[in-house]
Symmetry: C2
Amino acid sequence: MDKSGMFEILEEDAHSGARTGILHTAHGPVETPVFMPVGTQASVKAMSPAELESLDVSILLGNTYHLNLRPGMDVIEACGGLHAFMGWSRPILTDSGGFQVFSLAGLRKIRDDGVEFNSHIDGSRVFLGPVEAMRIQRILGSDIAMVFDECPPHECTRDYACQSMEKSIAWAAECSGQPRAPGQLVFGIVQGGAFDDLRRRCARELVGIGFDGYAVGGVSVGEPEDVLRRGMEQGVAELPRERPRYLMGVGRMSQILEAVALGIDMFDCVMPTRYARNGSAFTRWGVYPVKAGGCRLDTRPVEEGCGCYTCTHFSRAYVRHLLNVGEILGLRLLTVHNLYRYMGFMAEIREAVRGGFFRAYRDEFAARQQAGDK
Amino acid sequence: MDKSGMFEILEEDAHSGARTGILHTAHGPVETPVFMPVGTQASVKAMSPAELESLDVSILLGNTYHLNLRPGMDVIEACGGLHAFMGWSRPILTDSGGFQVFSLAGLRKIRDDGVEFNSHIDGSRVFLGPVEAMRIQRILGSDIAMVFDECPPHECTRDYACQSMEKSIAWAAECSGQPRAPGQLVFGIVQGGAFDDLRRRCARELVGIGFDGYAVGGVSVGEPEDVLRRGMEQGVAELPRERPRYLMGVGRMSQILEAVALGIDMFDCVMPTRYARNGSAFTRWGVYPVKAGGCRLDTRPVEEGCGCYTCTHFSRAYVRHLLNVGEILGLRLLTVHNLYRYMGFMAEIREAVRGGFFRAYRDEFAARQQAGDK
């Protein structure tokens, strides 16, 4: 039986909205709640596919806007799609380019039928709308395509948020009717800015169109924590229990825990990889700068008790030295450790929900972060 | 039986000076002729120790001058020596800092008892002489320490070359008497610039002192090919058959073949790793820029028929894309390929000498490079 698109809910927490499940995709199953490392340009920065597999990464994120510019769709097509191109046989979710409407605000013009970008590489004109974004994601052959939307800035007025949301809903409907790659799922994206009623209306309308899953978008764009929380709550309240829910771009561990408690199943964020390249390590106790002088003579591993390749083979003193002299291996070793921590964190969450002790796990997590030992 | 220091010659070529052998060190055996990847700062650029092992790298090179500055000997000592520090359990050879007398010529002053450097990092004063260089290498715990010498520029006058050589011989004698790490071997370095009689005299005097092996130094410093060749010939002519011979810093494959034919056993060079970071691949046919636009749509591996991780998993189009957008994985994949090619090249040489067809192998190599197909 082709299970692609099926979302099996395995356990639900008695005290919160948390749940564990399996999302079946064309490239295999994904256990949720899941963290998706970001491979914007067809590479999770500094990592090889073999390393990602050994870290138990089950699904990656790629990016429509960036891959369309470089290498270009002719290259991806010649190479047989994104999976074959980057040597990754497990599932891939592709962002639609909607986030770049926000992040490249100075380089684009929003029209009724889509967005005109001036390429951030060479200034050339690139048009992305629902048709184009879905065509690109079809060529990429991702397992999960995201609808093309506008991600508005969080300080926008109610009028702007409302008009932007209406446009995003119209585009979502158009995306929904586009041809797809074999087995490709399409997720809608709930917008509506900081306005509860808009968030709810957007969610309801998307559910009316009907998608394989739903994302909460327009978050992680600099908004305060309570706005993020309300955005999640309003969105999730209107979404069907039986479809997967994805919180876009949110990656602080405390935020992930809170979102899981509200019923979110999927996450992506550049934090573990970006912090690694900036010389910082995530541990069960928080985050600290391995690059700092204090680690110069520290013969302990990056995180005591950690089972990753970095921590079982090298000292903080060595990793700190590599970062200090600009050796690529330093970035690699910290990226391995940080992804191992994030993957371990998600595995702990799934175990806690399955075992019925998610509430205790959250309390313990908060206590450990408060202790802040490393 | 502790074989450390033993050099077993296994086969000698009937038509040239080429030979295969095993050099036994405190961290295990090294089959020769051997290529040593360069890990100046306790890391072969972009590679992990696990990758180097899987590439059959049997011995690495580290650098006294650089490691002494960063991380500093207190760190290396706290971490239990260079092997433990960098997580490498196979042999290590350490350069003495003599090459930096050449490469940092604007930042140092040569005295009778050593060289005063102004650190290339922060300008602080660092003194290296035979005593200091041997002490540092003792702390590093390398399997093979090089004597401290002066590597003069290749255009120097006969007078300068002679005085410099006399000083290097005196320093070599002093190095020879210094305490060593357990099982540590010490190699002398033949200098003498472009002057045949000086090269011969230097070699004879070093043999008179008596070392575990001998290097030909003061080469790969911009001299013409014929000067390099004469330097090797003159040096090797005076060196004992039964000790290993190391040609410092020379790494073009054609040069390595010629040197093996003259009886050289050991090589090091940054070429495979540096060319990778510049976007170029070594193949059995030569070298070519993977980064070039011509590879944009090329779905073939970096080298057809190659068995490395890169070539068995990825296309030129992908590697080219990664290099083009500045992804670290691009440098990694090309470094893996280039080191695989270099290690394979040395294995082919050893096989050809063992099998009695070294001459035919050289002819075939030249023909392939001439054909230049890729």
